[in-house]
Structure formats: C-alpha cells, structure tokens
C-alpha cells in the first residue's frame, strides 16, 4: 500500500485481507531433517539449502591414538542484529535522465547498486545509491532485503519519490536473523592435553530463504572453518548443513559463524582441563599454534601472532592465580565465583582467494582510495568503505595525515555514495582498515612522491634531499630553506607553468589495494570473573579483561570502542536475546520487551589491553578486529559459570541463552 502519508498507508494496509492456506510448519533443525518432514521448497526435498563434507588430515588415526574422547552438543539460539536504526529506503526516479537515486540503509552501496540494476533491469551507471550514516549495520545491512528494494521499483512505476521506514516490529520480524546453530563435536585428546583431531557436525537453521549476496552457506560454512581456532589441531572432519525452516531467513551478523566455532573450541579446552585435572590456561598453552605462517585444516593462512603472549598478558592483567585462590576460599563460605577464558583467532578482511574458496560470486578481495589534494592543501579522501559507527572517517584521516605530515582535520573522508566515491565493497567482515587503509597509504605515497618532486623544483634542490614534516617541505640540513605544503598544492593545481618539466598538474591518486589473498588474522583473549547466585541462577560479572592483537593499531580508542560494543552484543546473545517462534511457526518476539537487549546496567566495565604483532603481509600491518568483541563472550561466560559452580558439581552449559532458569536446571542436574 502506497499513500501520501503513513496514517493512510497503515489504514490501507489494515484493509488488506489475506487468505492463507496453512501448510504443516517446520520450525526447527530436528523437524526439518526428520524422516518424512514436509519439504518447504521443491528444489530442496531434504530441507537442506547447502551442505558440505570435508576432511583434512588423518582423523581416524587421531581418534585411534587418543587417550580420551570428548563429546558435546553446542547450541546457539536464533538472534539478530537489532540495529538502533531499523532499515529504511527512499527512492526518486528522474525521468528526464532515466536515473534512480536510492537512499538506503546499506553497508555496501555499490553492491546494492548491482542488486537494484538486476531487479529493475537498469544499467548500473543510471543508479546512484546513497547510504548516509547508519544507526548500526552489523552485517544485516549488507543484505538486500525484498521490502527495501521494492521502494525504487515503486518510485519508478509511480514517477514520484517513495519512502519506507521499517518499524521495530517489522524489523524484529523480517530483518535477517542470525546465529541459530547446533553442533555435535567430538575431539580426540592425548593424555597430556593435546587435541589431536576433531569431528564436527554443524547444522544451521537458515529459515525459509537464502540471502543475497553471501547466501545461506556463509553462516554454517564460517562456523565450520573456525572450530579449530588458535590451536594446532592437524586432523579435522566437518559436515555442515544449512537447513530450511519456516522462519525468517538468516544472514551474517557480527561474528558470522566465528562465535560458534569459538564456543566449540573453548568449551573443548575447559572440558579437557577438567577430564585431565589440568588448569584451563595450561591446556591452551599446550595446544596453541606457535609458528607462523601457519595453515589450519580449514585453510586459514595465519600470517603472524603470538598467542602465548596474548594469553600470558591476559592472565597477568586479570590476576588469574590470585582470583582462583580467592575463589577456592570464598566457595567455603557459600560464595560461588569463577573465572572463564575464551581465546579466539579472528578471521578478518577475507581476501580474494578466501572468497573464491567460499564460492561467493562477489568477492570483496580489494578496495579503493581516491585521494585529491585541493588547491588550498586540504585533502579529499574518498573510500569504498562504509562508516556506520566504527569511526572509520577518523581512522582513515589519521592514516592519510600520518603519510602526508598533516593534521587529521586537514583530511575530509567521503564515503557511502556511489556518485561520489570510487568503486568499493563497503564495510563488513572486518575489512575496512585493512583494505581502505592499505589503499589510502598507497595513494598518499604517490601524492607524497609527486609533491616532493614539485617542492624540490620550487626549492631548487634534489628531491632526495627534501623532507616532508608538519605541513612543510625542507631541504635536509638547512631547515630555513622550506616551502609550505599548501604552497606546493596551490602551485600543482593553479600554476601549471611553474611545474617541473614532465610533471602533470594536480595532486591526486586512485589506488586499489588487494590485501593478503586469504585475509588477515587477529587474535584476542577474554577473561571474565563471575559470581553465580545458586538460589536464583543469576550470573553477575565482576571483572572483564580483554587482550587483543590486531596488528598495527591506528586508533586505540576506536579499537576499544569496537570491543566494548561487541561485548555488549555478545552478552545479549549469551544471556538475554531470543528470537523465539512457537511450534506453529508464529514469531513471538515482536517487541523489545519480548526480545530483551542488554542495557548499560548489564554491560560491565571492560579493560582492554593492546598487543601489536603487525601483519607482515598487509600494507600498514593492519589486521581487522571489528567483530572479535562479540565472539568470545558466550564461551568465556559458560566456562566461568562452570568454574564457579564446580564445588557443587559439574554444571556444564553448552548452549545459549544462559538464562537463570537454565543455570538452576543444570545445577539441579549436577547435584542429583
């Protein structure tokens, strides 16, 4: 229903009476995979969208050589990004030039343009996509949803601008959900704590449809890739299934499969520790990958890192030994406190070969920076990334300013408008700083070299003797002999006759940067101290420390803010959020009272400590870290709760959300 204002549109929509013929619903992984389950799509009679089965190394041999076998089932509920700003779409069609302008909440304006071109059968150069600041993206806004794409179609049909804004109920109902998976994990373990091999069955409830452009394969595929984590586990067999159910489709959400993989390997480490009566930290030290580069069974090409140091620093800052001694004493007085560790390797900035390996048809294996020095010396930097709250404008301006000896305020960063920026893939999979940071460095180096040549000509000096710092070029050894950056910019743009022979006017460069072909791998450890109330099942977080190593840190505040925000989302998933459906397939979490998000009272103070192991394969040494904050949270908490309650029995929680009721039920089970 299209109307002149929302009131009329809502009234009109109420008059629409749809007669549905109800078919038997399929609302869970188990129901969808059961013998004789109704097929939701004729094209997938077994209710599986995509599946794969891969084996690396001698898995059978590992299990034969094992002294013990660990088995468990890990479950994560369905939850979603729930952006502060729900999706919105506004389109205008200009008939005189046959052009569509589409303002849309998108993390990936150029990819939305490709999608719209296909939907409207319009050439891409007639479409301009503008994605202004967004109130959150988290992967959900990389996906083209049918409702938002309908708006430009209507604008073209009606020859009038058309706008639609999702309300919260619509947002919870159909904005792509995420995370719902069940894993069956078995590990072969040697008596000294070394994990020799893993077998994992991975099932993802992907809802009724796949998603564009990353497809239903992403969530389960990425989960399967991440099960071995930071550990040197040579043998790994995985069977992964993207299962069809009568629920909203599932797409990427911050972390994408990595929270599941991390949950698996971190539960495993603590279980090995318990079975062999070892310290959980010791088991991790025993299994860490120590030499780089290292290729994991999932073909992750880990370029650098020092996992031992990351964990050592974490234990030291957290006061691990003291905490554990203190907890033993407190338990005797009926106060149950525990510590939990969760370590993760964060796959970031997926490279060209990684996307190809995943079978993704649009491989974001490069990005672009277009830098131009204006006649007054100020810098316009247009980049293919999209900033939706990460502070990328600051990060990019810092990188450019560093390269050019300027102030951050001298650089204006432009993004999010296909009419204004060079071709790029936006921000997702923790790629922006690696790709656009790299491209920005390359473009700045071009400009710096050319500006130095012009300055040398102005100073009548040899370019090799000219230095750039603090907004001026000087001749080495004679600081009085100087020319301002702004004067060089003015001459380059406005006085072409004064340029050195053979030098083109202007100071600009467009550079593409194709980062490490397999991506870049950051790492982080979360250490948490909890107190569990054994009467109510409520878990209180007393202390939370993170050590992260994302290579070269451009902006420490930005990195810490990413971690804080990620932890808030991770806590939501670990404790509160549940995109529930009833047995008939009715979605029953339609308000923010039913779908409970963490507020500031639930989010603890987090101390972040930085380590820097620069990436040896990326320009600038950067590694992505935008998702890590939310990945380690649930396993750290599950491990801490288990540790806290260990004096009363083995309370092993391998699922989320960890509600007080679940804690009480598991505690009662353990005591029985």
């Amino acid at each position: 229903v299209v109307a002149e204002d929302r009131y009329r549109a809502e009234d009109g929509a109420e008059e629409v009476d749809i007669d549905y013929e109800a078919l038997p619903p399929v609302t869970s992984i188990e129901a969808a995979m059961a013998e004789g389950a109704p097929a939701i799509h004729d094209s997938a009679p077994d209710n599986v969208h995509v599946w794969f089965h891969r084996t690396t190394g001698d898995v059978d041999g590992a299990f034969e050589a094992a002294d013990l076998t660990v088995e468990f089932e890990m479950r994560t509920q369905r939850y979603a990004a729930v952006c502060l700003e729900p999706r919105a779409s506004l389109a205008r069609y200009d008939e005189s030039v046959d052009e569509i302008t589409w303002w849309v909440s998108s993390q990936t304006p150029h990819l939305f343009r490709t999608a719209l071109g296909q939907i409207l059968k319009m050439p891409e150069h007639r479409i301009r996509v503008i994605a202004p600041y967004l109130g959150g993206g988290f992967g959900q806004k990389t996906l083209v949803h049918p409702d938002e794409a309908l708006i430009p179609l209507l604008a073209k049909l009606l020859r009038r601008p058309v706008k639609w804004t999702s309300d919260r109920r619509e947002d919870l109902h159909v904005s792509m959900h995420a995370r719902e998976q069940t894993h069956k994990v078995a590990a072969a373990v040697r008596g000294d704590g070394r994990v020799l091999g893993i077998r994992a069955e991975i099932y993802a409830d992907n809802g009724a449809y796949s998603c564009w452009p990353v497809s239903a394969a992403l969530d389960m595929g990425q989960a399967a890739d991440n099960v071995t984590g930071p550990y040197d586990i040579p043998a790994y067999e995985r069977r992964a299934y993207a299962v069809v159910t009568n629920k909203a489709p599932v797409g990427p959400y911050r972390g994408v499969g990595r929270p599941h993989g991390c949950f698996d390997h971190e539960l495993l480490m603590d279980e090995v520790a318990r079975r062999l009566d070892m310290d959980p930290a010791e088991v991790r030290f025993k299994n860490f990958i120590r030499e780089f580069p290292h290729v994991t069974p999932s073909e992750f090409h880990l370029e650098s890192g020092d996992y031992v140091r990351t964990l050592e620093l974490g234990l030291e800052k957290f006061g691990y030994e003291e905490r554990r001694r203190e907890h033993d004493e407190l338990a005797r007085t009926g106060v149950y406190r525990g510590t939990g560790i969760a370590f993760n390797v964060e796959q970031s900035a997926h490279g060209k070969s990684e996307w190809e390996r995943k079978g993704v048809m649009i491989a974001a294996g490069y990005d672009t920076a277009e830098m131009r020095v204006e006649p007054d010396g100020k810098v316009r930097l247009a980049v293919g990334l999209h900033n939706h709250g990460q502070g990328q404008e600051t990060t990019m301006a810092q990188i450019a300013a560093d390269q050019l000896g300027l102030e951050v305020a001298d650089v204006n960063v432009v993004f999010g408008d296909t009419g204004q920026v060079p071709y790029g893939f936006g921000s997702y999979s923790s790629r922006a700083t690696v790709y656009c940071g790299g491209a920005t460095i390359l473009a700045a180096q071009d400009i710096r070299a050319k500006a130095t040549r012009i300055a040398a000509h102005m100073l009548e000096a040899n370019p090799d003797d000219v230095e750039l710092a603090d907004g001026a070029f000087t001749v080495r050894g004679s600081p009085a002999h100087a020319v301002a950056w702004a004067d060089v910019a003015k001459l380059a743009n406005h006085r072409p006759a004064k340029l050195p022979p053979g030098v083109d006017p202007g100071l600009d460069s467009i550079r593409k940067y194709m980062a490490a072909e397999w991506g870049s791998f950051a790492n982080a450890v979360h250490l948490v101290e909890v107190e569990v109330d054994v009467e109510t099942g409520v878990v209180e977080i007393l202390r939370y420390h993170v050590v992260e190593d994302c290579g070269t840190v451009v902006n420490p505040t930005g990195v810490e803010a990413q971690i804080h925000g990620g932890i808030a989302q991770g806590l939501g998933g670990a404790f509160l959020e549940d995109m529930a459906y009833d047995d008939s397939g009715q979605h029953i979490a339609g308000t923010l009272m039913d779908y409970l998000l963490p507020g500031f009272t639930e989010v603890p103070d987090v101390e972040v400590h930085h380590l820097e192991t620069p990436s040896p394969i990326n320009v600038g040494g950067f590694k992505g870290m935008g998702e890590g904050g939310c990945i380690n949270v649930a396993p750290a908490l599950a491990n801490a709760i288990r540790d806290a309650l260990s004096p009363l029995g083995d309370v092993w929680i391998t699922e989320t959300p960890i509600t007080p009721q679940l804690v009480l039920d598991k505690l009662a089970e353990a005591r029985a």
Partner: protein
C-alpha cells in the same frame, strides 16, 4: 494458550446448557462482541472488538458448536481474525448439577497468531483468562436475570447504547 477453569451458575443444568449456546446471551456477555448472527443452529457469525492494548483490534469470524451431549457437555470452536492477527480456540465444556445450580468446567486451547501474537506474548494468557472469566461471570448473571447485569451495562442500556 491453554485455559481451564470452572464457574458456578445459579441456573439449573438444563438452563445453563441452553444459556451457554444461546446467541442472544453470548452476544450480550462475550466481551467486545459487536455482532453475533445465527447462520445455522450450531454456527454463528461473529464480530468483536478487543480493546486491550497489544492485541487491540476488530476481529471477525465464527462460532461453531459441536459434539452436543445435552445437558452435560459440548464443544465450541471459535475462529476469528482481523488486522492484528487471528485466534483459533477450541473449548470443551462440561456441566454438572451442584446444589441447585450448575458447575461449568471448561478446558480450552487457543492459538493466537499474527502481529497480536508477536507483540502481545507476555499478556496473551492474562488477557485470555480475563476475557473468559468475564464472559462466564456475565453469562451466570445473565442467566439469573437482567437485574443482575453489571452497573455499567445497565447504565449503557439506559443511555441507549448497545441495547
């Protein structure tokens, strides 16, 4: 939503049995009922308005009476839908003579779907229970005679609203 309960009616078991299936009584006593038209002797068309926030809206549908075993038991199926969702309820009523009156026991299973269900989860059971209790109390009063109708019903009637 599962509901079960019992209510005491001052009327005899035969009168109560008739009352619980009487379109005029149901029209009067079903909260929010705006229209109840007899289609057949065991099927009525229904229009009702639910004023409770979260599930507020106009619903249209039908009431069907099955498995009659007068005056001891019957089954009532209600199906209604509107812009805010749908309700399918299946209720079994059992009547028993006690101390000159009747004890009516009911067991119902109601399925609520659509927006009302996605936004009203936390209140659905409470609202359903409240609506059913109100209907049963009103029916009991209706059976006992008009003078025992609630004061506001009587006020509305005097002011010329409804009836």
């Amino acid at each position: 939503v599962r509901l079960e309960g019992e209510h005491r009616f001052p009327t005899s078991v035969e009168e109560s049995y008739a009352l619980l299936q009487d379109p005029a009584a149901l029209r009067e006593c079903m909260p929010g009922c705006e229209r109840l038209d007899v289609v057949t002797e065991s099927r009525f068309d229904l229009a009702m308005s639910v004023p409770v926030p979260a599930v507020k809206g106009d619903y249209r549908g039908s009431v069907e009476i099955l498995e009659r075993d007068p005056p001891h038991a019957f089954r009532m199926k209600i199906e209604a839908s509107g812009s805010t969702g749908f309700v399918n309820a299946d209720a079994r009523m059992r009547l028993e003579s006690v101390d000159g009156g009747t004890l009516v026991r009911y067991e119902a299973e109601a399925r609520v779907g659509g927006p009302a269900a996605s936004v009203g989860q936390r209140v659905l059971t409470g609202i359903s229970r409240h609506q059913v209790n109100q209907m049963m109390r009103s029916l009991a009063r209706y059976g006992a005679g008009d003078e025992r109708r609630s004061w506001w019903r009587r006020l509305l009637a005097r002011l010329g609203f409804r009836r």
